[in-house]
């Protein structure tokens, strides 16, 4: 029994000539081998929306990343996108800060953190809508 399995495995694992290159990552594929579905084509629902947004160049469609502040002055405040009229903002005042300074930011009311940087609310674009 062990011998049969070993011989079968050896036959199956024998090296094959590489298949023609395509946009899909294929190697050691025989002409008769079936292929897996295209990942974007296979996805559905929220997962697909995320993949489509990434494919369109937006690598943070759910706005999870920490934003790097802009100039942050009163004339050029850091713009905070929001879908609503207010958003909770957490300012990491300096790189070694051991706390985050949270404040509510309201539409039309630019605000200054105690560390001196200004924030302003802007309208966020729906990252999942095609332009």
């Amino acid at each position: 029994m062990a011998g049969v399995i070993a011989r079968t495995a050896a036959t199956l694992a024998r090296a094959r000539p590489p298949f023609a290159a395509s946009s899909l990552h294929t190697s050691s594929v025989r002409a008769a081998d079936k292929l897996m579905p295209d990942p974007l084509d296979h996805a559905t629902g929220l997962e697909r929306k995320e993949l489509e947004a990434i494919a369109r160049g937006n690598d943070d469609p759910f706005m999870m990343k920490v934003l790097k502040r802009a100039a942050g002055t009163k004339d050029q405040p850091t713009l905070i996108p929001s879908f609503h009229a207010e958003r909770l903002v957490g300012c990491v005042c300096h790189e070694d800060a051991f706390y985050i300074n949270y404040m509510w930011l309201y539409k039309g009311e630019p605000k200054r953190c105690e560390c001196g940087y200004w924030f302003k609310l802007t309208k966020a674009e729906d990252p999942f809508k095609f332009k």
């Binding site: 029994m1 062990a2 399995i5 079968t8 495995a9 199956l12 694992a13 899909l24 990552h25 294929t26 190697s27 050691s28 594929v29 025989r30 008769a32 081998d33 079936k34 292929l35 897996m36 579905p37 295209d38 990942p39 296979h42 996805a43 559905t44 629902g45 929220l46 997962e47 697909r48 929306k49 995320e50 469609p61 759910f62 999870m64 879908f83 999942f128």
Partner: protein, 262 residues
């Protein structure tokens, strides 16, 4: 497409399976006690049936939520990865306790067993016969499952199927050989500390092999239904991780209980 939330996390719908699982586990464990005390397996089998139905329906729901509803975004998948890693870690600790028990009894054998290990009168298995074959089988199955994984990542449906099929076959082969070994053993679980430590450690390992084989079989059938894509196939990865864990536990078992302890 209508989005139910403006975040990428998955807040699951209300489900009865945690409750049926808890009830089933309660009935199962009480049934084990009844089995041991009254030699009656009815309650145990009933509990087993409830647990099996819970597992099937709960994991079927997870497949539906991930594959058919697309609710497993990248951050959800990360959470699932951490979950599997933590679960396997807890299983490592579980086996650690059985190895502790084995070394406790075997490093300083007591007077009652003859100040020797294996104890006087115990005929251990020859580690270079079936146990060595079992080792080769599990190591080979680690190779086939890795082959299957690379095939999935390289878009090769057919070779992924073959790799998975071979892995499952090797898993079944291991279980069959180990069952025959149990039947042929010259000692039982009640034969001193040797029997206790041997059968508790290898017995729980065998249960984990059966669980791992079942997991891989489910992956095989999901693969045949095209649930996996080359980028997103976490169910398969979780099964492969679990299978490698089972393989590593066997290597420890083989080296300490079969070889050193034989």
């Amino acid at each position: 497409m209508m989005m139910k939330s403006d975040h990428s996390f998955h807040l699951v719908d209300l489900s009865p399976w945690p409750l049926t699982g808890a009830t089933g586990a309660f009935i199962l464990t009480t049934g084990i006690v009844k089995w041991f005390q009254e030699m009656n397996m009815n309650l145990f089998l009933f509990g087993m049936m409830i647990m099996a139905l819970t597992c099937i329906q709960w994991w079927r729901d997870i497949s539906r939520e991930g594959t058919f509803q697309g609710l497993h975004t990248s951050i959800v998948a990360k959470g699932l990865r951490w979950g599997m890693i933590l679960f396997i870690t807890s299983e490592v600790l579980f086996f650690f306790s059985f190895f502790w028990a084995f070394f406790h009894s075997s490093l300083a054998p007591s007077m009652e067993i003859g100040l020797m290990w294996p104890p006087k009168g115990v005929l251990p298995f020859n580690p270079f016969q079936v146990p060595l074959l079992n080792t080769i089988i599990l190591l080979g199955s680690g190779v086939t499952v890795t082959w299957a994984h690379h095939s999935i990542m390289e878009n090769n449906f057919s070779q992924a199927f073959l790799g998975l099929l071979l892995t499952v076959t090797l898993g079944v082969y291991f279980t069959s050989l180990q069952a025959l070994e149990y039947w042929e053993a010259s000692f039982t679980i009640s034969d001193s500390a040797y029997g206790s430590t041997f059968f508790m450690a290898t017995g729980f390992h065998g249960i984990h092999v059966i669980i791992g084989t079942t997991f891989l079989t489910v992956c095989l059938s999901r693969h045949m239904k095209s649930h996996f894509s080359s980028n997103h196939h976490f169910g398969f990865e979780a099964a492969a991780w679990y299978w490698h864990f089972v393989d590593v536990v066997w290597l420890f078992l083989y080296m300490s209980i079969y070889w050193w302890g034989g």
